[in-house]
Symmetry: D2
Subunit: 449 residues, 4 copies
């Protein structure tokens, strides 16, 4: 099942002479590699083998599977191709932990990942350790830029799965009537609300997408011009308090706010609030919200999260019709979002803060600032996830990474409280189906001028 | 259930003085109204009451329902509001033949439309005749521009349902092992193939969308600028012969050509060819294709049709990788399509030709011409169906016409052999989910330069 | 597709000498044949072609399909085998109107019967007329007992479909919000209630099943001994009024009365009353019941009907626990039912009465009489439908008639207001799945002594 | 959530004077209790926490859940009612590990049992240990016969779950492409085949069901007469080799052998062999069979197992038609089975043998002996699972144990290689739906004489 040794992955002489720039790049990559790999282990530290085994729905994966799959990525796409004398840790793992790369063979059935009790967690951790040693060795010796590029891709890939690991564990724990706590510290102190305020932007031709140095996924390229109409963005995401007003105003029972597909979805699922809310029997009390810290009373000043695109879109229509100061409210396009975000520093409440929950906006130093563009919650846009003009996927099985999902998904921007900070940039495109709610998804309003 | 008489729909004095321009407009609208209403009756002339009763799938509707629903539109949105002393033909029909306008009340369950055996066809035809008389009377007297605008919308709406009536009947008849014939004349004579040829287009800022006089749906507005990269369009749609090469090259069994969602769909449905093809047991023979004229051998020179977006997209990837002259092939965006179509006359093989099947391209007078942009087959684009910047739906229940479907659908352009010619224009946006195949949908290749 | 002529179906000399007994038998059969065939036409007389086309659920069939299928039975099992020089009316009908006889070939998909708009009703009626002529000719000439036996089977088969035609049409009309009326006359006048009373039966060895002359289905044989414990049957079926008490006592919301599978079914379907009941918003009023005569107020003295086995079983448990005089109530076994019914005349409110709805019990001439054992409502028994000891299905495709349904069905006894009276006998076994409700099914209580 | 102390569970004086017989009974029960509880722990010894967590289908349960649920039974039905000053180990476990007793409250969703990662296995084991101590204490002091009866019921209940634990783990492991081994020793040595031979039985009145001393479930009572026709049973179950002949003769592709519901099931599931078989690509080789000892070549002399009722029934029809010596073959009724089994010693290849797989029949000492009536494989009967005449379920929530499953299930008799030997008796009734295959189910042929 493994690739036979060819010229491409023939032994590299031990003391390969490499350019000093390459040495620095390899060293930096090695540091990043080990930091990210260690972070994955830290994320599962609060979990039992049982917690790491279960899969709560087809869209989610077991934590153990995440740990194994990101390791599979390095073994299959890096070691198998570039390691001299490659032998797999276990020959069956190549098919077992393939997610969706048809180029690598038929993957194991996705909804049954939770049934793979073997290998157990301990064996997956041994696999991780061995692959770490072998990648480290490769990083010391290889001079092949493709190898470095694929290791970088693997690191980024593992960061994506770190966020999924957190959202999947949250979903799993939420189903348990014991409502278990992933992490007991609760870092939030509610603060005064930052009032919603429109920030205006002129129209004209802008460029969006990635260009230049630094890692980016293929779907962020090529950078290209796009014409924008004059518009405004809200200074901060919609809050839990604002969403509560929507719920209390009958937002989930009035079809006029909803896309047809959203209304059908809502009724089929019997929904009346964001995921993880428990509405009080007594309408007067605040809802309870399940978090990675257990059940908490809803904090009205934090950004609302765990909403679908359907809900975000319905909220915007309701807001536009219900409040004079929000007339014309809609979701932004991804180009509108990126044009504004490109000028801002990439910082915010990300996974690194340890909050693992959106935090209230803090009053800005200057008026007219856009707050919380990065971190806290992914912001739904009206943009369907599709190829930028001139888009080319990578060669080989890795080319299946992004392009084959370009239908029936909406773009989200800006990262969340579960995204590693070093993983984000203004051109980053996340994407999910319109009904997905288990990510830390939220919204920021926009309007045309 | 009907609207009480108010100032808005109080009796109009018989000899209302109207401006001469309005008289002309009313007269023209009356002619169009009656021509379109008569056309609907002509379309069901070959059908029995039984044919008009059945519903072959939830996406389709019975012919009788189409005849009733378009009448409901005039009764509910025009007569109920503008006719003095309005009384409904039957009070229950208001809910029974509502398609999806929540503003009018809870519609009858869509998948069960085929179970409404009462009213029977004869009663629906009586309803049509009465509504025709009453609309005619209103058209002679009203001076209210909203009434005229809603009658115009109703006429356009009925034209849309004429196309659906044909595609729904085709689907119904195809399920019957007797493979009944809707219309026995077969007007097609195969002609020499027109070779595929790229037609290049420069990039830059273009304007798309509707503006100015003439009817257009709300989703075609506002007209707005869009930046295009240099690109080329194929001179004609992909033909049945070209598609056959894709089938014979294993196109339906190789995941590398397919979007992930398309591959899952393909396998769940067990598909290996476009809808209505019967592949010969002997691979050497040509497939048989079910048409409104019965089963016919595949004509390689006619545009391929009854394909989903998934199939169109997969074909383009295969074409790009398989033929040097098609390298870079993809589907066009709707802006690319419209920018080229805007300069062309709106003519082609539409419903009016009576062919009711795509016809072969005819050799152009001049090289570099784009052929068959209008009529024959709807052309899938890569563009998700969404709101143009600044889009505003109409007020009231009619505002549910278009906007609430703006998710999980792809735009198709250009009309088909089942579309009334007078219903088309360059800015016209049709839309269907990626898996829809029962429309006369096809594709035209594009590529970036 | 038709059977080639063989010795078995070679021409019979015109003036075949037959025994006088056979002549009488043939003449009687011919009379019965024509009476039953005419009755089928009478049943569809109130229906339009549209009514005859639609299929309201997979378990039901269109009226047109019933008319065609019973004709198919005579053509396929009688004419094809016994008619000299047999030619089918239409060669495709053999597969099209096969219900489930795999021995005849792959049947057309059952849930899609409503999509067969061709042949239309008129053509099906022509087919019926032609087959009637040909069967009449065969009946004048044949001397083969198998032919007579199969014609007799076909007549009985058509009577079964007459009942299904009525129950299927009732289900179809009930879905239409117009609640159309099948037959406008309403023959019922409520009468004084006949009080419920236990009728005791000794235990011991009894014989059940069919033996001797007269038609019976294979599943009623062989007659065999069965040991019964002493028990009692209720003198009449449970009434609508008694059932209303069960509803009002929360019977549909308390799991203690329900089989586990019944409780799951109830909750999945969201049920709170028998099929065709509309519970009043105001709990004080009587429910409305949809009948073949339109919507009617519930008559408390008529036998309850359109209940599933799950509901019948739950009612019995509730009755046993709720009323001292009903302690120990359960459903009877089919042997208990038949042992009591065998002594009674086969008469009651059957299809022939024209009521097409259960009628109230009439006070008996003598105390201790079992009332309404035949007609009114089929009575659910606790007996699973299975083979009697020594059961042998018929040879050939006709052998698929009964035996292959002997799993996951419960036996019902006694016939209903939709069963032709001449079709019934004490040994008759009807059978349906535990969740079926669209038949005229009811219950009679029993208890062990 | 726990029951408040009442007179019924008030403290028992420490040195309660009890009759000597009761002392002996309590001591024997205590020994049995501890042996059975220890056996459960032994069964999970080869499993990791991950193995114990996963649930491979809604019908199966995680091993951890089995361990917890049987403990819940003792806590809820015994300690809560009889222990002075009862406090639950964890108040939430009462709802969490309730299987289906609506009398105890709303159970946790069955298909989601695999998502209960908390409590973890270690905590469940602590719970077991605590409950064991408390039950032991109760057993030393209680004088209440109901308490002893419920402890006995709990012991029997745990034995049932031991078998399920094994079949559920087998199903889980089979899904893993690594095909993990539960227990590596393979105790089987194939021996010479014991030829199939009919053993004849006279008809007449027999008594079946439980009576007298010794534990039995409520569904085995009351003992009652039943009339049998003369019949024969096969001397041993059908073997893997005989089943292979059925497969190779096209048994799974010919509808004539199958019940209608079975044929639909077969085609919907796409089945062609018993569960756990892998048919060789090369028809000549023997199939491979997944066992608790890993993948093994099919042994033709062992009883076939993991077949549904549909398959057992189809095999009997095929056997009857295909082999002269098997003419008339069918499945036995449960009364036929029990009448023969009642005279035999309850011994065979049960869980205690450690084989955990059916073993070949051994040649009998005397001709005409019925072999393998107990152990090896559960034998499907034609009898639907229903109440014996006069059946009364137990009072209270425990009354939900058996009675509420009496629909749409077939009775199996005799126990299997996974059943504890001390759990079996001739009157024991197991039951599963007709499509169930993951139990060690097989068949023995019968025929009427």
């Amino acid at each position: 099942m493994s690739t036979p040794p060819t010229a491409a992955n023939a032994p590299t002489p031990r003391a390969a002479r490499t350019a000093p720039g390459l040495d620095l790049e390899r060293a930096a990559l090695a540091r990043r590699y080990h930091a990210v790999r260690a972070r994955s282990l830290a994320l599962v530290a609060p979990l039992s083998p049982e917690d790491c085994q279960a899969q709560s729905m087809p869209d989610a994966s077991p934590a153990k599977w995440h740990l194994a799959h990101v390791t599979w990525f390095f073994e299959t796409f890096v070691l198998e191709r570039f390691e001299p004398g490659f032998q797999p840790f276990h020959p069956a793992f190549r098919a077992l932990f393939n997610s969706y790369y048809n180029g690598v063979g038929e993957p194991f059935s996705r909804p049954q990942r939770g049934l793979l009790t073997r290998p157990d967690l301990a064996e997956v951790l041994r696999w991780r350790a061995e692959v770490d040693q072998r990648v480290a060795r490769l990083l010391r010796h290889t001079t092949r830029p493709e190898a470095l590029a694929l290791i970088e891709l693997g690191v980024q890939h593992e960061q994506q799965h770190q966020e999924l690991l957190l959202t999947d564990i949250k979903h799993l724990l939420s189903i348990n009537p014991l409502h278990p706590v992933y992490q007991s510290a609760w870092p939030l102190t509610s603060v005064a609300n930052v009032p919603a305020q429109w920030v205006e932007r002129p129209g004209g031709l802008v460029e969006i997408g990635h260009a230049g140095a630094g890692f980016a996924f293929d779907n962020e390229s090529p950078r290209h011009p796009q014409w924008l109409q004059p518009h405004a963005l809200m200074n901060r995401p919609v809050t839990h308090g604002e969403w509560l007003a929507f719920v209390q105003d009958g937002g989930y029972t009035d079809p006029q706010w909803w896309l047809a597909a959203g209304w059908d979805w809502l009724r089929a699922e019997g929904l009346g609030a964001p995921l993880y809310w428990t509405l009080p029997a007594d309408g007067a009390a605040l809802p309870t919200v399940f978090t990675l810290h257990g059940d908490m009373p809803l904090d009205p000043h934090t950004p609302v999260t765990h909403i679908s695109y359907y809900e975000a879109d319905a909220f915007a229509r309701w807001a536009s019709a219900s409040r004079a100061e929000w007339a014309g409210a809609r979701l932004p396009s991804e180009a509108e979002w990126e044009a504004s975000a490109a000028a801002l520093p990439v910082q915010g409440n990300c996974q690194d803060s340890g909050a693992l929950h959106p935090m209230p906006a803090r009053a800005p130093a200057a008026p007219g600032a856009l707050l919380q563009m990065f971190g806290d919650v992914w912001e739904w846009t009206t943009s369907s996830y599709s190829a930028y003009p001139g888009y080319q996927p990578a060669e080989g099985a890795v080319g299946e990474y992004n392009g084959k999902f370009m239908v029936n998904q909406l773009v989200l921007r800006g990262g969340s409280c579960a995204t590693p900070a070093s993983h984000l940039r203004a051109s980053y495109r996340n994407f999910f189906p319109a009904s997905a709610r288990w990510q830390f998804s939220g919204l920021r309003l926009a309007r045309s001028l």
